[in-house]
């Protein structure tokens, strides 16, 4: 009897730990264009999303004050990764949500001189990257997936 109870307990515990809901579509329908405030914060009312991007600008532009009066474009893909880019950026940054932080998953090189008018479109299962009205690439969290 004790063994049976122990078996039920093990099954219940394992069952809870492995609870997975799928499939999940995390995709935002369109990108958000968010101004960076004086503290380096961006926030989006629609998705109740906010983040500090000072480190992102430092990594991209090698200047700790580069975020001043800038804006970033951000979109979330179907798998839940956040794609971020800004004007003049040479890379698209792919982040995953991780315990109250955005953890860099991939840095995708897209332009040698930086993009002037970058924009994202949601094109499931990819994210489309544009320069103005010019299509550049289809991206996923692993990198460029074709033009």
């Amino acid at each position: 009897m004790k063994k049976l109870l122990f078996l039920f307990f093990i099954l219940f515990t394992v069952g809870c730990a492995q609870l997975t809901l799928e499939p999940v579509n995390f995709a935002w329908p369109i990108e958000s264009v968010l101004d960076v405030d004086d503290e380096g914060m961006i926030s989006d009312n629609r998705y109740s999303f906010s983040a500090n991007v000072t480190q992102l600008f430092f990594v991209e532009k090698k200047d700790s004050n580069a975020y001043n009066k800038e804006s970033v474009r951000i979109i979330r893909g179907t798998k839940g990764y956040y794609y971020i880019i800004g004007s003049g950026f040479k890379n698209v940054y792919v982040f995953s949500a991780d315990n109250g932080a955005l953890k860099l998953h991939n840095k995708i090189f897209v332009s040698e001189f930086g993009l002037d008018l970058p924009a994202f479109n949601q094109r499931v299962p990819y994210i489309e990257l544009l320069e103005g009205e010019e299509h550049l690439f289809f991206l996923n969290s692993d990198g460029i997936k074709g033009e």
Binding site: P29, I30, E31, S32, V33, R46, R73, A119, F120, N121, Q122, E128, L130, E133, E134, H135, E147
Partner: protein, 274 residues
């Protein structure tokens, strides 16, 4: 023909891969144009203007129909159709507002016409009062002169009677005209004098001043005293005058305090009314 179609298809596919539009930009453009229409509706002044805007909105809707799916997702909590339903509701509301304004405008025009007619009538009455007053004054002087040289002959008696009758008639006419002026001035405002705003009060004062109403009332009283002093009235005249006086007194009880209220801050005219 078949080869041409294939080439065109390849070109279109290629073009669609090279030229692309940002969904964000499309959404922003849609929102911006939607807002422009909202402002245009708000500022529309005529039904024709609203009809034109309605037509332009229809063109706008057709232009963005291809992006309906994107906009349904991007415009959350609204969507493509609800955006146009909102615009339609705004047009209907604006239409009602414009109709209401037009109705009020017609009413204002009609009131302005009425005001202009009353002012004209008042001007005419005031001129008549002035003429009658001059005529009465002349008759009174003639009467005084006649009495000083009165001989008692039949011709003299007849002339005296005629003069007195003419004078009485003139004074009666003048009194009636003043009453008419008072009625005209207070006809529209008599029930709300206490609650008139500054502009309405100013208009009423202008009418009272332009018709010299206070002076005319003062003259009316003075002339009637003069008339009594002249001792030319018989019993019947006195009875008539008494009834006239009572009628005027009733009127004065009604209009006097109102006039007094209107001129509460005007020392000169207030003293005339005391």
């Amino acid at each position: 023909m078949r080869t041409q179609t294939i080439y065109v298809s390849i070109f279109l596919l290629f073009a669609s891969l090279i030229f692309a539009q940002s969904d964000y930009r499309i959404t922003q453009e849609f929102k911006s144009r939607q807002r422009s229409f909202e402002i245009a509706i708000e500022y529309a002044k005529t039904p024709d203007e609203l009809t034109r805007i309605k037509k332009e909105i229809l063109e706008f809707k057709n232009e963005f129909r291809g992006n309906k799916e994107l906009l349904n997702r991007a415009l959350y909590p609204n969507n493509f159709e609800s955006s146009f339903t909102n615009l339609d509701k705004k047009i209907q509301f604006a239409g009602k507002k414009i109709k209401e304004i037009e109705k009020l405008h017609t009413r204002v025009t009609s009131l302005e016409t009425d005001y202009s007619l009353i002012s004209e009538e008042l001007g005419k009455l005031t001129r008549e009062v002035s003429t009658l007053r001059k005529s009465n004054s002349r008759l009174m002087n003639e009467l005084k002169a006649f009495r000083s040289g009165y001989s008692g002959s039949k011709e003299s008696i007849d002339s005296l009677k005629n003069l007195i009758s003419e004078l009485k008639e003139g004074i009666n006419q003048r009194d009636t005209l003043i009453k008419e002026i008072m009625d005209n001035i207070f006809a529209t405002a008599e029930h709300k004098i206490e609650s008139l705003n500054d502009a309405e009060l100013k208009g009423l004062k202008t009418q009272i001043q332009s018709t010299s109403l206070i002076d005319n009332i003062t003259n009316l009283v003075k002339d009637n005293i003069e008339f009594l002093k002249a001792s030319i009235l018989n019993v019947e005249d006195l009875i008539n005058l008494r009834s006239e006086f009572n009628a005027f007194d009733d009127r004065w009880k009604h209009f006097g305090p109102k006039l007094f209220n209107i001129y509460s801050a005007d020392k000169q005219n207030k003293e005339k009314l005391v």
